[in-house]
Symmetry: C2
Subunit: 197 residues, 2 copies
DNA sequence: CGCACAATTCAACACATGATGAAAAACATC
DNA sequence: GATGTTTTTCATCATGTGTTGAATTGTGCG
């Protein structure tokens, strides 16, 4: 490892800012907000910690930047909701797997998920994100009784995300996507449209 | 608040150790391992931080003590597995809700869950607890193909626990237990014994 | 009553963290 | 070439964290 002992700008046009952001996303996704230190992010990006502050400001600001996901949830969900409730279970699952399996998107999603699960950033993300962003989308694909069905759908989706991506339990993480869709699709469909007590 | 400015033992027989342990459990369950400081636990228990060390040793030791749950998982699961796979979905769900809704047990469970979800304590708890403790129990109530069914059951249970207790989404947290059992029981049963692709 | 032991606080330490500001190097423009 | 701007590191600060050890107080026993 070459020691960078000299102050001042590095030669060339390195995109150091992007490297810092990527390192931050990975760390927030792995260790959560509190488990992520500015120094560890800087070390992973190969820069001095002061540079992290230079580019992103406070740790909170870095976190907010890390949560910006290069995909519009509405675009992702558009094909899911387009054809109404019938078959929506499978379409929802495929859309979810699509974004979670995209290496450009997953780090940010992981950072968000870890934050929600860890209560790192306080209840604001939790109380704002899920009811405001997720709820209205799901409401378009339930047959009826959204107040009963949506929490059930959400519980299975949360379980899937946690087991497959966040905690990454081997049996779940390694289940082929097609098998997963075939096995969990009917369950989501049941929650969306099936007979519900 | 009376200031305790004097060194030395307090009069009477206060169970300070238990107060510290309860405060620790609550904090670990709410904020995870990293979010919990010795000083905050001591403050919540109304003692000096050194007393936390006196009773429990290191922070890690305190954590381990907080994870000790006053219930044997095997006793909880015995009635679930006694009658085999038929009807096991509902029995499993009732057993789960039983322990999670028990105020003597929930704090420790929350501390454990938060730790698993937050990756606070490293992968050891995750890799040891779920496959070793949970897997063999579930294996007794699946009809066949445990390697396929158990992850699905686990995903729904994880989703339930997270949505209802850990993140405590209102719609899920407030769903009456009987409604929940009636709606999710059949899904768990399907994962355990139903037709699976 | 004296003593040993347990419980409790005070004081302090080493280290880690987020953050700030100045110095230095590279680059672009005139 | 000189200057202004951007990028980068070094040095440092204030604060917080887990932890240790000594001093003090209360209790139980002989």
């Amino acid at each position: 490892m070459t020691a960078r002992a000299s102050r001042g700008r590095r030669p060339g046009a390195p995109d150091t800012r992007a490297e810092v952001l990527a390192a931050a996303r990975a760390s927030f996704g792995e260790l959560g907000f509190r488990g992520t230190t500015i120094r560890s992010v800087a070390a992973a990006a190969g820069v001095d910690p002061a540079l992290v502050h230079h580019y992103f400001g406070t740790k909170d600001d870095l976190f907010v930047a890390a949560l910006e996901i290069p995909v519009d949830p509405r675009e992702v969900m558009a094909p899911v909701v387009a054809d109404g409730p019938d078959g929506a279970g499978e379409r929802l699952l495929r859309a979810l797997l699509g974004v979670w399996d995209d290496p450009a998107i997953q780090p940010g999603l992981l950072a968000l998920a870890r934050s929600l699960l860890g209560d790192d950033s306080g209840p604001m993300v939790r109380d704002a994100f899920i009811p405001v962003v997720v709820g209205p989308v799901l409401a378009q694909i339930v047959a009826d009784r959204p107040e009963d069905r949506i929490p059930l759908v959400a519980s299975q989706i949360i379980g899937l995300v946690v087991a497959r991506y966040v905690v990454a339990l081997p049996a779940m993480a390694q289940m082929p996507a097609e098998d997963l869709v075939a096995r969990m699709g009917p369950v989501l469909q049941h929650y969306l449209t099936g007979d519900l007590a």
